[in-house]
Amino acid sequence: MTRSFQAGLLLLACLCSSAEAQDAAAGRDKAMACTPCHGPDGIAVAPNAPHIAGENAAYLTSQLKAFRSGERQHEQMSIIAADLTDEDIADLARWFSMIEITAKVPDLD
């Protein structure tokens, strides 16, 4: 692959997904409220919060909606989800799902 072709591809890629990038940026900004517990990168800093980096967007969406409706209860999440709009939830779910993580299974041998 030539360098100019690579650059062209990169430009095309970013043009194609600029809307997605915007949503993700909105999610990143809204995620400030999540960082004290779930960490700035979605890797939790509070011991009672799960890591949400790389989590499936559909799962994040369904859980945030469950907290909002009261179907799922948690002392902190119920309060924080109460005021989220559907758009907020979509942005947040997209942002956290886009964070790439790696996992290393312990070598037991």
């Binding site: 890629a13 011991p47 009672n48 980096a53 964070i99």
Partner: protein, 372 residues
């Protein structure tokens, strides 16, 4: 698919173990912290998720609890202001947030119990904290507000904070209180009742009175109820929870309920949700004289406020009679453009008069000094 892949490259977050290397660059955090003229802040040690700090007497070993199961110790043998030995001493405990020491005995406050570790005569900082001998298991073991803050008072008794395991709820016999007991765990006694979640207390150096921070309820908006600084003037006083927060904010669901006993309001109202945790009265000779017997309070910072608040260290001024006369910001900057770069938890004074501060977000212990 390829398009997505390329653009997501910029969003990759690194997953890494807690930084233990001494060459990690913290200038990004340190350069943001603003202090009064003449004060400096530096990194004393790095460790994962540090919470309550206890400066051990007499051998100078400093113990640090966590909410993640481990306790670390650190020592600055060559007195250069940087810990030259940082060790994990135990792991796998049940939320060992609290650490305190008296008479060569280290006490650990866990979610479900208090235990002690007799420091061996042949002391070695590599020794694991084992065995830990339980002295009291009379606790409600709930994670929420179950991170115990503990300390020995001038009366040589062990004080333990028992947070309410809820946002707003009726209290049971052993929740929503600060209690004290003899060093062997006997003679359990309620010192302060109606306390939602205190994660910091200290005794005024002159009056010996117990001052404690208390975190206000959530879910009632950005600006109420106030976080509190209280003083115990009579053993067993009730400080209002779950009826009232701050001076006079009636808490959701309890507006029409009559408190069964008279309530004692806080001395100081801090900003709602600023999460005031550790408090330390200053007794050293490094800082200017005006700081003597004043208190420093660590504001961990809000998690659910529309505009984040806290993330700093407050100074509470006291007069010669031990009355609090006002507050001012001492150190700030851990909130950078709305994003947290650190969260102060607990503050302790070192023998040289400098302060050390734990931060469970940046995973460091800071040291604050005055002068050259």
């Amino acid at each position: 698919m390829y398009a997505k892949l390329l653009c997501s490259v910029a969003l990759v977050a690194t997953l890494s173990a807690p930084a233990m290397a001494t060459d990690t660059d913290y200038s990004g955090v340190l350069s943001k912290i603003r202090l009064p003229d003449g004060f400096k802040i530096s990194i004393f040690a790095e460790m994962p998720k540090p919470r309550e700090i206890e400066v051990g007497k007499p051998n100078g070993v400093i113990y640090v609890g966590s909410r993640h199961g481990h306790i670390y110790s650190m020592v600055d043998n060559n007195r250069d202001g940087v810990a030259d030995e940082v060790r994990e001493r135990v792991n796998g405990l049940n939320v060992p947030n609290g650490v305190a020491m008296q008479d060569s005995m280290l006490y650990v406050g866990m979610q479900d119990k208090i235990a002690m570790w007799p420091v061996p005569a042949e002391f070695d900082t590599a020794l694991p904290l084992d065995p830990l001998i339980p002295i009291n298991e009379n606790m409600t073991s709930e994670f929420l507000h179950g991170w115990r803050y503990i300390g020995f008072g001038p009366d040589r008794k062990l004080y333990v904070s028992l947070g309410a395991p809820c946002n707003i709820c009726e209290l049971t016999a052993n929740t929503g209180k600060i209690v004290r007991m003899d060093p062997d765990g006997s003679n359990w006694e309620v010192v302060a009742d109606g306390v939602r979640n205190s994660v910091g207390f200290d005794w005024h150096p002159k009056t010996g009175q117990l001052w404690f921070t208390d975190n206000g309820a959530d879910g009632m908006g950005d600006n109420i109820p106030a976080d509190e600084l209280n003083v115990v003037t009579e053993i067993g006083q009730n400080f209002g929870f779950p009826y009232v927060g701050g001076q006079d904010t009636k808490l959701s669901g309890f507006e029409d309920k009559e408190p069964p006993v008279p309530l004692t309001p806080p001395v100081i109202d801090f900003g709602a949700h600023t999460a005031n945790l550790g408090i330390e009265f200053y007794e050293g000779d490094m800082f200017p004289g005006e700081y003597m017997n004043d208190a420093f309070v660590a504001q961990h910072g809000s998690w659910n406020r529309t505009v984040p608040d806290g993330y700093r260290i407050m100074r509470v001024k006291f007069d010669d009679d031990g009355n609090a006369t006002g507050t001012e910001v001492f150190a700030e900057g851990w909130l950078d453009g709305g994003a947290a770069v650190g969260r102060p938890v607990d503050i302790e004074e070192l023998p040289d008069g400098s302060l050390i501060v734990s931060d469970d977000f940046a995973n460091v212990i800071y040291r604050i000094t005055f002068g050259d």
